[in-house]
């Protein structure tokens, strides 16, 4: 080994440790679950309900995050105004809140006894809509942060160029900023998606855990964990596969969108 080879070796070792630490538990889920268990677990109505609910609520939450979060992030990235730092910190706050705190906060604000209780009543708590609210609350900062950074990194002269070429401000946003930022937006979307799919604490506290109504896959796993570890494991394997596939899909979409070509 040459004199200077120790550092690359160190880097490889560090990566190997990271891979082992992160990969082993995931691998263990599959090593402990036979394919038959996996298919079998999908046959149970509770599991199917949980999976369908997770997909529905996550999709709804992601749609909300994209539609509202994208223009909000664009504003944060392209304008400066008094108190912007405070606004950015508020947007990022859910990132550091423990999920249980997020759940309590949602109850205190849009729960039946919360500040907006007279408006919302019990339309959210213990309802599927409540799950969507909880997912959106915890997952949107992941998207908005990434989207803001991506928009901020855009060449501002592109937006100016779009304006001189006849595009309105909205046109420059829709025809230049969003398409050019798409890879970054997709990455942010993947992060938010992953966070929403795995959401547990806030959902449990705010929406409860009722099969077919608010019991998403993580809640169903927890529900079974005490009574039927193998079933919990099989459902966990399903969640890993679905999450991995979605993450991969979003990344591929982002990559192919990087250049619209001819």
């Amino acid at each position: 080994m040459s004199r200077s080879a120790w550092f690359p070796a160190l880097l490889v070792l560090a990566l190997a440790l990271v891979l082992a630490f992160l990969g082993l538990p995931v691998a263990a889920i599959f090593l402990d679950t036979s394919p038959a268990d996996l298919v079998g677990s999908l046959g149970e109505p509770e599991a199917r309900d949980a999976l369908l609910l997770s997909l529905r609520t996550t999709a709804a939450s992601l749609a909300l995050i994209l539609v509202v979060g994208t223009p909000a992030a664009y504003l944060l990235a392209t304008r400066s105004f008094r108190g912007k730092a405070v606004v950015v910190t508020l947007v990022e706050l859910p990132l550091v809140l423990p999920p249980a705190v997020a759940g309590i906060a949602l109850l205190a604000s849009v729960g039946p006894g919360g500040i907006l209780g007279p408006v919302t009543g019990d339309s959210l708590t213990l309802q599927t809509a409540g799950v969507v609210v909880a997912l959106t609350f915890v997952a949107s900062p992941f998207y908005i942060r990434q989207a803001q950074a991506t928009f901020a990194a855009l060449d501002r002269s592109w937006l100016d160029a779009a304006r001189t070429l006849g595009a309105s401000e909205a046109g420059a946003f829709a025809r230049v900023a969003v398409p050019a930022a798409l890879p970054g937006l997709a990455a942010g979307g993947a992060l938010a998606l992953g966070r929403a799919l795995g959401e547990f604490g806030a959902t449990l506290i705010f929406a409860g855990s009722f099969q077919g109504i608010t019991q998403t896959v993580p809640l169903a796993i927890y529900d079974r964990f005490a009574t039927d570890f193998d079933a919990a494991l099989a459902l966990a394997a399903v969640l890993v596969i679905v999450s991995g596939a979605l993450l991969l899909g979003v990344k591929l979409v982002g990559r192919s969108a990087a250049f619209a070509g001819a």
């Binding site: 060449d155 160029a161 304006r163 001189t164 006849g166 398409p179 050019a180 990087a258 250049f259």
Partner: protein, 344 residues
């Protein structure tokens, strides 16, 4: 944050090209951005083809998209996510097939027919510049604004690109306002040159007018002339003698009194062996020391200490015969008629 004060009053005739030249920070780009509606000044007026674009006294301030001006940005600002033809077609209206056809036609005109589907990052600097120009013209603008259209190019590409750009500018019938930090570029591309410094146009005229009669030492220096400062007084022959700061004397046919600058172009300065005074019409002879010898194309630029910095341009053969190298002592001569006296 500094406040930029820009005070200019410019008009460009249809088909004409005014080149604004000046050092960076002079406010050149701000003028373009105000014209395009990308910058909103406290006070200002902009009009084109009879239509008022901006008038702060009446509150008119058209959005950039309503101004119909083609803007070529300094780094071209081609949309990286769109192919060359889509960049060109961006500002066009109409059906996709029609825009596709017209964009390809335009690219063809700029010799880029086969690059229509390339991404901007796959294009060379010169190709990017042409796509940017085609894109700016695609909307049939009423005015063309160009911000340092050649500065992003390497020296080799620049010569060809500037010839091409000057023929495009000559063809278009809309007024063009071009900004550059390079006087030679301004002289080549503009019908008229306005020299800008610290937010004001200090002199405007044809490039040769500016070079021949610079209004100030700054403009003379900017046009590439040598500037020597000193105290001037008239003599009995009706000529002006300038006692240079640091020693030496220069005679000029221009008139002036007091603290002044003498300007002369390097190609008007003749060099000879020290002591071998040239027998000729040159009235000015300065004993100088060679500081540097730099080849510029087929010429050699010689930096001199007179003792103020002076420069001469000679051919390579002349430099060889004179044995020019740093430290050599030579005699610099130039005619009194080749000098200009300007205020410092």
């Amino acid at each position: 944050m500094g406040v930029l004060e820009v005070e200019v009053d410019l008009d460009v005739p249809a088909g004409g090209c005014l080149a604004l030249a000046g050092p960076s920070g002079a406010g050149k780009t701000s003028v373009l951005r105000v014209a395009a509606g990308l910058l909103h000044p406290a006070h200002g007026r902009a009009a084109c083809d009879g239509q008022v674009w901006l008038d702060t006294t009446t509150g008119i301030d058209l959005a950039p998209e309503s101004r119909r001006c083609g803007y070529v940005f300094q780094d071209y600002a081609l949309f990286g996510h769109l192919s060359a033809w889509r960049n060109v077609a961006f500002g066009m209206r109409g059906k996709r097939a029609e825009r596709h056809r017209r964009a390809h036609e335009l690219l063809e005109r700029f010799g880029l027919g086969d690059r229509a589907d390339a991404a901007p990052r796959e294009l060379s600097g010169g190709e990017r510049q042409r796509v940017a120009l085609a894109r700016a013209l695609a909307r049939e603008p009423k005015a063309l604004l160009l911000d340092e259209p050649l500065s992003a190019l390497d020296a080799r590409t620049r010569a060809a690109a500037s010839r091409e750009l000057s023929s495009v500018l000559a063809e278009t019938e809309v007024p063009a306002l071009l900004v550059t930090h390079d006087f030679a570029e301004a002289a080549l591309l503009g019908d008229e040159v306005g020299v800008m410094d610290a937010g004001v146009v200090v002199q405007r005229g044809s490039a040769s007018e500016l070079a021949a009669a610079p209004a100030s030492a700054f403009i003379a220096d900017f046009t590439g002339a040598v500037v020597l400062t000193g105290i001037a007084h008239g003599n009995e022959d009706g000529l002006t003698v300038v006692a240079l700061d640091g020693g030496g004397e220069v005679t000029s046919t221009d008139r002036g009194e007091g603290l002044l600058a003498v300007t002369i172009f390097p190609w008007e300065v003749e060099l000879a062996h020290a002591g071998s005074r040239l027998e000729g019409s040159a009235r000015n002879h300065l004993a100088v020391e060679v500081l540097s010898v730099t080849a510029v194309g087929n010429r050699v630029r010689v930096g001199l200490a007179a003792p103020q910095p002076l420069a001469a341009e000679v051919t390579e053969a002349a430099a060889r015969e004179l044995g020019l190298r740093a430290g050599a002592r030579v005699e610099a001569s130039f005619k009194a008629t080749a000098t200009r006296l300007v205020r410092v």
